[in-house]
């Protein structure tokens, strides 16, 4: 699904350069559940955002589902991202002014689904995630765990092939974190590829393998 070849990222700082990622070579196959780990400043989140195609300022080669991202226009990249990738964030990043239902509907609206299709899909997701009763509530009326549950539901609502999760349980207590990780495991077992950034050894055990980063280099 994903091949990175000599991917590098740096910032100009004064006369020199600060390297964030150095010569990253990776391959992630469809159906894998991969955890990226490493100390703060290792470049984990940067790598995740490159994989998520939010960040286009890097060098090297990046192939996604056989498509050469490094050769594509920004518009083509965003189309590919929209079709195939869902995101889960540590701080949930739900839209405060929208209800749970509307937060789940927004990604479908941005993918130009018809109203009737959106209703059907969101109803199905609400049902699958057992949050039907919460559908008219706003994010600030939910607990952290409930918000992250909605965050995960939002990530999968458009049926992505890949879910990228940046410290998905970082703001949750352990019980809620466990529930979310079980949910990821279930989604992975259903065929969704998952890449998570985590500091938690426990959470990393839910995945098939761990990629360790240090000072921008892949160390394991």
């Amino acid at each position: 699904m994903i091949q990175l070849h000599n991917v590098e990222k740096s910032y100009g700082s004064g006369a020199g350069q600060t390297w964030v990622l150095r010569r990253i070579n990776l391959e992630i196959r469809a159906g894998e559940f991969v955890s990226i780990m490493g100390p703060s400043g290792a470049g984990k989140s940067t790598l995740l955002h490159i994989l998520g195609m939010h960040d286009s300022a890097w060098a090297g080669e990046f192939n996604f589902l056989g498509e050469p991202i490094h050769k594509m226009s920004r518009k083509q990249v965003l189309e590919l991202q929209k079709k195939n990738i869902g995101f889960v964030f540590q701080s949930y990043h739900l839209l405060d002014d929208l209800t749970v239902y509307e937060n789940l509907e927004v990604p479908l609206s941005y993918r130009d689904y018809k109203k009737s299709d959106r209703q059907a899909i969101v109803s199905d997701i609400l049902d699958r995630f057992q949050i039907v009763a919460k559908k008219d509530l706003y994010p600030n009326q939910l607990s952290g765990g409930q918000q992250q549950l909605v965050g995960v539901a939002r990530a999968v609502v458009a049926s992505p092939k890949l879910i990228l999760a940046d410290e998905p349980t970082g703001n949750l207590h352990s019980d809620q974190g466990r529930e979310i990780m079980e949910l990821f495991k279930k989604l992975n077992s259903e065929g969704t590829t998952i890449i998570q950034v985590t500091h938690s050894e426990t959470n990393a055990t839910y995945g098939h393998r761990i990629i360790k980063l240090r000072d921008g280099w892949v160390v394991e």
Binding site: T46, H49, H93, D97, P107, Y110
Partner: protein, 798 residues
Amino acid sequence: MSAWFDDLRYGARSLRRSPGFTFIAVLTLAIGIGANVTIFGFASALLLEPLPGREPDRLVRAYLYAKANVPYPIFEQVRAQTRTLPDLAAFRDATLSLRSGGEPEAVFGSMVTGNYFDVLRLPAAHGRLFGQDDDRPGAPAVAVLSDALWQRRFGADPSVVGRTVTVNGHPHTVVGIAPPGFIGTMHPIASHLWVPMHGASGRTDKSLHLIGRLSSGRTIAEVRAELTAIASRLTVPGANPAGPPPFMSVYAGARLAPEPRLLAQVFSALLLGLAGIVLLIACVNLSGLQLTRGLTRRHEIGVRIAVGADRRRLVRLMLGESLLLSAAGGLAAAGAAWLAGRTLVSLPFPAPIPVSFDFAFDARLLLFAAALSFATMFACGLAPALQATRLDVVTHLKGGTTALGGSRSRLRAGLIAAQVALSALLIALGGQLVRGLNSPRFTDKGLVTDGVVTAELDLRTVGASKEEGVALQQRLLDRLAADPRVQAASLAQDIPLSGNNRNGGFRKEGAAAEEKPFWPNVTRVSPGHFATLGIPLRAGRDFQGGDSASSPRVAIVNETLARRLWPEESPLGKRVQAAGSEAPGPWVEIVGLARDSKYVTVGEDPRPMLYQPAAQGYVEKSHLLVKTTANPATAAALVREHVFAVHPDLPVTSGATLESITNLTLLPLRIAAILAGALGTLALLLVIIGVYGLMSQVAQQRTRDLGIRAALGASPAALVRGLVGQGLRLVGAGVAAGLLAAAGAGVLLRAAVSGLSAWDPVALLGGATALLAAASFACAVPARRAVRLGAASALRGE
């Protein structure tokens, strides 16, 4: 489509959750759009409304002018010959004296042909309107009242129909009341009394307004062609065949004649231009607010991009919010315009002339408001939307700052400075106009207009010979002099300050042969002119009865002419000689020196002026100036009474006070000054809103910085001063730019309006002070709030 609707729904919710922003934005739009819609409402009523009556699109107006002073007979020829306008009526305006017991009242009215109301297809509200028989020689004198006059003067008493009233000293029977709202066809001058032309002896004058109804299938082009052809073969009874032919202009059924229409168009454009500046300020203000709001929404925008939104959808979302704001602002503006329009219409007109402005609150106005709102949406919403959606998603999802930094901060600051500059321009211009019009230059006319009533006397209308005319004028002056109610009276060729400008060429005695003649303003006046107008004679004497056609020629000069011709010398006893295009005239001795006074316009520089006695150059058409202690209506009636006594058939027209005539010349400027002042005030309000918004943002950003400074020992007052100073530096730059622009505009103003100062430091500095004071207030409130948070809470907030 449903996605559009969803975006609007989310936008509405987002605005509801930011009530402060929404209120300020809608208020800003209401002020900016409201000012334009209000002015459009008046301009629309004046320029775009059709003539009153049924099927106004089939009405055609024409203007008939003949130097020979006999348009009514010419009108009859036109009426007899036209095939395109089978219904053709004529009318002319006049100030009429109306008495119905008690004091007479000067009422602005119209003399009309018998078919006037038929042409308009107007029904009477009570009684009947005129018919052809009412305008035949020997017909009983009749009158029609406007609904407003009927209500005001007669308490809406229906029995007034059939009652006899006195119009211009003659008994007239009131036959009917015109429909409510009808104020004649001389917009914006309101007629309230109509009499047949025959009954008011109004059949002779230089000009007549015509109004006709197109026959079926005819077009305005055909009318124009036909009337032009008719005009070329009109015969003017008793006129010199070599003289200029009668002039006739045809125009479609507009309310205004071409000249006032052009004036109204220019004036409306000017006012809409000023209001446009207010809207521009509002747009700048709103753009700044949207820009700031965009900054606070960067996280939301980042999330939306992360879940799949492309820039088009995000811009659409933000424009949807702008659309909602604009719609709310447009509605509020329409409401404000309705209120302002009704209020302004009900206020007395700032000059003693019967002007009645309508305010058209109709579909056209609402469409204008909607169009402005829509344009405002793009003007104020697009750039901030594009700015807000051009961001680095990663930074914002990682919790990037919402500080107003870099180019956006400069853009916002630039917008505020531009807004302040535009406001300073408006306020300073308004101040310059108001102060200029209240300066001695405009208030000191050099003559006393109080209590002076004017009347136009045209001796040609009664076929008087020169000798008869002179005798008649003298008899009239004698009668007025003997009337204890009259303080002074005189005849003058021109009414001062009415815009008339007459020059004559003269050569002074002793001038070299090759010296060019000088061309002062000239006029002929009777003895008592200077006393009537309160113009002091500095030396010499007034004209006397002995200054007749057979006596040596004499003249009185004003100070400017005396200084120019005989500097450092007394002009008395000096002689001048007419030396224009004609052969040299007899020597004219200067017998008096009059103080300078205004002659053509109130703001003019002193003109060289040479007065000659009316008795030494017969003036067929002159103006009677009578100074009395009576009220204007009584004075007008008094004049008519004396004129009637010396010649019962001599029509007296006008009857306006000298004050109203001189005020009329300043009216457009006064209105411009009032509106510039009002718009300047609105601009000031917008500046307060804009600066307040900016400083709230700045203060919020600097909370941590303020907390650290306070913890290090800075006093709250010093912190507030620092923040206010930061805001005022921005405002100061805007004020400086605005004053420079105002000084430039002042030069243009000075060129357009004689007598206005191009550089009025008091107005400019006053405007600057008002802006700086308002801005200080707008800066101080958020600054004090931010500082009050204190060191501990500010740092805790981090």
